[in-house]
Amino acid sequence: MSNYIKGLFHGIGSLLTGMKVTWKEYFTRKITEQYPENRATLKMNERFCGELSLVSGEDGEYKCIACGICQMNCPNNSIRIVSEMTEDPETGKKKKKLVKYEYDLGSCMFCHLCVNSCPHGAIEFTTEFEHAVFTRSKLVKTLNKK
């Protein structure tokens, strides 16, 4: 009998806990984004992967050293790097230089393997997400525009 009454009040207590949670939820600000209307103020989460982009260093040049690790790591072959060997006029040392960083958004699966494997932190995903175009060829983008 005492177990019965104890169980009854314990049950009511736990039900009230649940109701308190939903009561709070009822009055919190709703998280729904009304997309086309709030386009001007829309703020995407930092972690959202929109499209790949090259990071510039402090000197304004791209950090990319054209090592090709991202190209090797890409499971879908979405990245193609064209590089050339240049000679430093002062020291005479040979150095690889980036000519063209080609990125196919259409075949990218946003796995982050390229970003994770880059030794210089030279590439990152931006939160840009409005990618719709009329032909596939427009999705192949050259990232180094400078």
Binding site: L8, L15, G18, T22, I31, T32
Partner: protein, 358 residues
């Protein structure tokens, strides 16, 4: 309070002056029937819209926003979509019962709906055993649900219908006991009389402890009676697709759907009538100025405000708790609600006999 009975008796006297009384009563019945069905549909639409909005708010969403201002025309569009859809008959089903079942459900719902006193003088079915009639009429619905499950020739439908039978018949007992508790206090079963006796305080205040317990039991049992979560076993989406109305399409499904939402409103409005005073404004004995101000708010506003408040309570419960298993549902009913209801009835008798109520 404004008495709508003045209008209705004026209409009656005008009609009897023009034609024999039998014809006048027939015409009045037809007009009232049309008004009743119109109100039924409008309330179903309001309920569905409210359900979608309230559910969304509890889940931190916005709900329908696109069609009309704040999505207000969304449900009306859904109703028209439902009306234009094909009604499919399943092969090897019991055709007659299959087509009859949704009408039985809607019949029970409309008959129970007609019992609700909306405002003073706006009662449709109002006689001295009104509560009994309401209980009897609303329990016809389970026949419709059982028939729907049986005639669909589908195991999911049958399981859903059987569960629903077990659940609804069990919980009718608790509803009966909690209403009986209040009838002990009022000594009448006529809905209009029950409302009139609450002029000097609603029963939930007058009956204090036993009335509050009866109110909570009524809400739990009422929620189970209309097959809504956390007692939505008969249509448990994840296990039984849609339960007893799996095989229905078009407006036959629509009838089940509409009846479910109006049943929610009926249960809430009966709770509002019996416990919260129906159309009776909030009166506090002794404060005459306050009572006079409250009387300026029309009765039907009070009624709908209270009924929608109870609907909101039930939605809060639905969108908070997970679904119970069938054995848990029957345990809750037979081991908790019925004994507590019986003890509560006894407590109310003691309160009434020793005049401990207000």
């Amino acid at each position: 309070m404004f008495d709508f009975g003045i209008w209705t008796s004026w209409i009656h006297s005008q009609l009897t002056a023009l034609m024999p009384e039998g014809l006048a009563i027939f015409l009045e019945c037809v007009a009232i029937g049309i008004c009743l069905l119109l109100m039924y549909v409008v309330i179903a639409i309001i309920m569905i819209y409210m359900e979608r909005k309230v559910c969304a708010a509890f889940q931190c969403r916005l709900g329908p926003t696109r069609v009309g201002p704040w999505g207000s025309i969304q449900v009306i569009c859904d109703v028209f979509k439902m009306l234009t859809k094909e009604i499919i008959t399943v092969r090897h089903s019991d055709k007659f019962l299959y087509n009859l079942a949704p009408y039985l459900v809607i019949l029970a719902s409309v008959m129970a709906f007609a019992c609700i006193p909306v405002s003073r003088g706006l009662e449709i079915l109002d006689f001295n055993v009104g509560v009994l009639f309401f209980m009897a009429a609303s329990s016809i619905g389970v026949v419709g649900i059982l028939l729907a499950g049986w005639s669909s020739n589908n195991k999911f439908s049958l399981i859903g219908a059987m569960r629903s039978g077990a659940q609804m018949i069990s919980y009718e007992l608790s509803i009966g006991l909690s209403i009986l508790t209040i009838i002990v206090l009022t000594d009448t079963m006529q809905f209009s009389e029950i409302v009139m006796r609450q002029a000097d305080g609603w029963f939930i205040f007058k009956g204090h402890i036993p009335a509050v317990i009866a109110f909570i039991i009524y809400l739990i049992a009422g929620n189970a009676e209309v097959n809504r979560g956390p007692f939505d076993l008969p249509e448990a989406e994840s296990e039984l697709t849609a339960g007893y109305h799996t095989e229905y399409s078009g407006m036959h499904f629509g009838l089940f759907y509409v009846a479910e939402f109006v049943n929610l409103f009926i249960v809430s409005s009966i709770a509002a009538t019996i416990f919260l005073g129906g159309w009776m404004p909030l009166h506090i004995p002794g404060l005459d100025g306050f009572n006079a101000v409250m009387d300026y708010i029309p009765g039907f506003v009070w009624f709908f405000a209270k009924a929608l408040f109870v609907v909101w309570l039930l939605m809060w419960i639905k969108w908070t708790f997970p679904r119970l298993r069938i054995d848990q549902i029957l345990t809750l009913e037979w081991k908790y609600l019925v004994p507590i209801g019986l003890v509560n009835l006894l407590l109310m008798v003691v309160v009434v006999v020793f005049k401990l109520h207000f």
